[in-house]
């Protein structure tokens, strides 16, 4: 995701912190086993956090990518972090679910957990505010979905 896209999602200029493995790992992950494509170092498992200070606090957009060796149990484990109200989303990766982390139900926050082939992604926007009205929450969900599509699109 570009810094420009993330900034637009957070409502203004954001800072970015990327946590990536050593670009020359001793044992590279078994990524893209379906396409057989050698994975570039900057496409390995990564976490990105974008943040922007606002009047209400700090708005954050976080993205993490992990490569699963056994899809079913590992993806199920990721979804377990999701909390009760999980909504399946159509047309996003191989599969994707919108959910909220337990304890964040009263915050302006939205999260999507999904996967493209054997690569799981989690994207979350937390605005550092109290939960918005229905229209605001809907808009937030739409923006997280857009962000998830950006991530999934790059993983395909």
């Amino acid at each position: 995701m570009t810094i420009g896209t993330a900034s637009a999602l957070l409502g203004g200029e954001a800072k970015m912190v990327v946590t990536a493995p050593d670009p020359h790992p001793a044992t590279p992950p078994a990524a893209d086993m379906y396409t057989g494509q050698e994975v570039r170092a900057d496409r390995l498992d990564t976490s990105c956090e974008f943040s922007r200070a606002t009047e209400g606090g700090v708005a954050r957009l976080s993205i993490s990518i992990t490569t699963m060796r056994k899809i079913e149990p590992e993806f199920a484990a990721l979804l377990d972090h999701c909390g009760g109200n999980r909504v399946a989303l159509k047309g996003l990766g191989n599969e994707a679910y919108r959910c909220a982390k337990p304890g964040t139900e009263q915050s302006a926050q939205s999260m999507i957990v999904g996967r493209v082939r054997n690569r799981a992604f989690v994207i979350e926007i937390a605005l550092g505010l109290k939960k918005a009205d229905a229209a605001g929450q809907k808009k937030l969900s739409e923006e997280v979905e857009f962000g998830a599509e950006q991530v999934a699109g790059n993983l395909f």
């Binding site: 570009t2 420009g4 379906y34 396409t35 708005a59 191989n94 950006q150 699109g153 790059n154």
Partner: protein, 748 residues
């Protein structure tokens, strides 16, 4: 003027709202970066500042100033255009509700975001660098290209990505380049209005201004060429330039040229059948009653912005049920193909039992028979399957069952893993790389040759032969069923995109035919009501034989046509052109003269007569006839080419030049035009032009070594190797009895 269905003015909407502003209840902002203004100088300054900023970090890998290379997209002013300059589809949709509703589900909208596209373009980006994807995104994501987003470490906001070809990409194209494809348009700065003098006014005006000057709104967003096929050619024609593959300029696909050569363009005299003029829009943007308010509608109907065609995969993936249902309906009700189980032939004989329903014949248990299935591309203005048929699957499924439903023979089945029977008769191709390996995953920059390419071009037919043995002890009726099936995409590509765990993607039956034969005596029966008339069935068989270079059989089939239709000039012309194919010019002349007696001045017959006259050395008649054809069909590339050759051979270089330049205007990639123009310019002392043309010829002509890559592939894939033979038999009988019989006869 009130817009239909609206009793109040539409509210002005911002393009996209930052979340926090919305949450705080702040009113709409005008979109940033583009202010609605008549001040051209101020607009230019804003754009120039943007372009300068982007240009500082943009990778001009393919030449300074070339923002879209290796694609062909051009923009007025030839500098970057901010994404915000393009009003969003949502904005257009606040008035044009029907258009917006349809567009949202269309392939044009989804041109960039779909996993099927992203999977292949990501490979290009990951292996060659994002700058190479400007080739693809000149068509799939023009805003991305023109905004300068396709460069390493771009910091641009990509909120335009999901909208692919948004309204204001097509509706801002101001001019068309020569039909090169790969985005051969000239984009203007988007504008919803022009001023009183006709100058485009970027930005979003108040709705009231649009309503008060609808003519100026129309002038800003409409062009005459939007109704023409050459508009579609800007993207529905693609090549792989040498800057992308480091090899040669290769033609990828050219749906536009297929249409231009088809009966629907009415620009070529050489088609087997005739039709009313129908551009791409005539089939893919049909008018229908609009359900939602739509100011662009006329008399309650609106040209479809769904662009219905063959793509079932995208609406299936996104759950776009309306688009999906309408796509299926489009494919199944268009009567695009005719499937004809036309004949049987018993092994060891040459006699055709044809047309099958009209004959009296006997079949015995244990006999080996061949079924002749003729598939006609009846009503498609391009090939089956067009464009990237390395990714799609269309094939013939043929099945023979007995009265109890037991399968006697089956070709073209789907295996349990979802893969198609490898020996099916498929309308597909196999592009291969320099190692002779099938280029999977659409890695087009590695393609060096096409090992196999099977299609039915517009208006033509193909004969598919299936051989099976009637079981010993069989009695009663046998059902023969032939279908043309279609799946978007092929199973192995879907596996590449999603991994193996994906749902079954839709399989659509495009056309089918069923007939019953009896073990024992068969009496003449009736033909199905929707079958072609008999003369056309023989004509289609003749066309199939001709394309499979079985010239004697083709002449026999066309002779049946003229026996049934002595008034049908094209029947005689078909005999004539077949005789030309195997150099029986005397016989060709007789047939063509007959055609011209039936239809004096007929351009098709005249064209082929000119070729006979050339062979006979009658240059005056040859040139006169070709001039007559060009006069009737000035956009016929074949007529222009042959007349150019005639002039050249008879020392009329100025006249030849006119023809080859016209030919190049019709198809900028025509090899004969490049070659002959190089010679002519050189003779005329125009050295620079000659050098340019010969350079283009060398770039585009086939690599003589390319077939070796194909041979490597075919050696390793006998199922495709068999299919690549011009005519072949599908059989489970090993070396067929028919083949053994023919070999034995040959040794006598």
């Amino acid at each position: 003027m009130m817009m239909p269905g609206n009793s109040r003015m539409c509210a002005v909407r911002a393009v996209r709202l930052p979340i926090l502003f919305l949450l705080a209840g702040v009113c709409c902002q005008a979109q940033t970066g583009t202010v609605y203004s008549t001040d051209q100088a101020a607009q230019q300054k804003l754009r120039s500042e943007y372009a300068t900023t982007i240009g500082q970090s943009y990778n001009f890998a393919f030449g300074e100033g070339k923002i879209s290379a290796p694609g062909n997209a051009m923009v007025e002013g030839n500098s970057f255009l901010p994404a915000q300059a393009f009003p969003s589809a949502e904005y257009c949709g606040h008035c044009h509700q029907e258009a917006y509703h349809q567009w949202q589900q269309s392939l044009h909208r989804n041109a960039f975001r779909t996993p099927f596209y992203r999977a292949s373009v990501n490979i290009l980006i990951n292996t060659r660098g994002i700058e190479n994807s400007r080739h693809c995104d000149s068509c799939h994501n023009p805003i991305g290209v023109l905004a300068g987003a396709l460069t390493e470490d771009s910091k641009l906001d990509r909120h335009f990505d999901p909208d692919g070809l948004t309204c204001t990409t097509c509706h801002s194209v101001q001019k068309l380049q020569p039909a090169l494809g790969n985005g051969s348009y000239v984009m203007g700065v988007p504008a919803v209005m022009v001023d009183e003098k006709g100058n485009r006014m970027p930005g979003i005006p108040p709705d009231g201004e649009i309503l008060a000057h609808l003519d100026r709104h129309s002038k800003a967003v409409m062009q005459d060429f939007y109704h023409r096929a050459d508009f579609c050619a800007a993207c529905h024609k693609a090549n792989i330039p040498v800057s992308l593959n480091g090899y040669k300029e290769l033609r990828a696909f050219t749906t536009y040229d297929e249409w231009q050569n088809s009966k629907y363009s009415q620009q070529s005299p050489l088609n087997f059948y005739r039709a009313d003029y129908t551009p791409c829009q005539g089939c893919h943007m049909k008018r229908a009653a609009n359900v939602l308010p739509e100011p662009g509608a006329k008399n309650g109907t609106f040209v479809s912005h769904r662009w219905l065609a063959g793509n079932t995969a995208v609406p299936f993936y996104y759950g776009l049920t309306e688009q999906y249902d309408k796509t299926i309906e489009f494919l199944k009700t268009g009567n695009y193909l005719n499937v004809d189980i036309f004949a049987l032939r018993k092994a060891g004989t040459t006699k055709l039992i044809a047309p099958l329903e009209g004959q009296r014949y006997h079949l015995a248990p244990g006999e080996v028979v061949q079924a002749y299935v003729v598939i006609q591309n009846k009503a498609i203005g391009h090939s089956l399957v067009p464009e990237v048929r390395d990714l799609y699957e269309a094939w013939v499924e043929f099945e023979v069952t007995d009265a109890d439903g037991h399968v006697i023979y089956h070709s073209g089945f789907i295996k349990p893993d979802g893969m198609l029977d490898a020996r099916a008769h498929s309308f597909t191709n196999r592009p291969v790389n320099a190692q002779g390996t099938f280029v999977d995953n659409h890695k087009v920059w590695t393609i060096h040759s096409n090992a196999y390419d099977n299609t039915i071009t517009a208006g033509r037919s193909t004969l598919v032969r299936y051989e099976f043995r009637i079981p010993e002890g069989a009695t009663g009726a046998l059902k023969l069923e032939a279908k043309v099936n279609y799946r978007h995409f092929r199973q192995s590509y879907l596996n590449n995109v999603f991994g193996p765990d994906h749902p079954d993607y839709p399989l659509v039956e495009l056309a089918s035919r069923t007939t019953t034969i009896n073990v024992g005596a068969n009496a003449p029966g009736s033909t199905e009501a929707d079958e072609n008339p008999e003369w056309m069935r023989w004509n289609n068989l003749g066309i199939s034989y001709l394309d499979q270079q079985q010239y004697a059989e083709a002449v026999r089939a066309f002779t049946r046509v003229v026996h049934l239709r002595p008034d049908y000039a094209d029947g005689y012309t078909n005999i004539g052109l077949t005789e030309i194919s195997w150099e029986k010019f005397g016989s060709a002349r007789v047939a063509l003269q007959r055609a011209l007696r039936v239809s004096p001045g007929d351009a098709r017959a005249t064209f082929y007569m000119a070729l006979v006259e050339r062979r006979e050395g009658d240059d005056k008649a040859e040139i006169a006839d070709l001039e007559s054809v060009v006069k009737q069909f000035p956009q016929s590339r074949d007529a222009r080419r042959e007349l150019g050759v005639s002039y050249y051979q008879h020392e009329r270089p100025d006249d030849a030049l006119i023809q080859f330049e016209a030919l190049q205007g019709i198809d900028p990639d025509d090899l004969a035009a490049h070659y002959n123009l190089a010679l002519l310019y050189s003779r005329m002392g125009q050295k620079d032009k000659a050098k340019q043309q010969i350079g283009l010829f060398r770039l585009k002509k086939n690599d003589p070594g390319a077939p070796t890559y194909s041979l490597d592939f075919l050696r390793l894939h006998p199922e495709i190797s068999n299919e690549s033979k011009l005519w072949h038999v599908h059989s489970d009988l090993g070396e067929s009895d028919d083949h053994a019989s023919m070999m034995k006869d040959g040794q006598k």
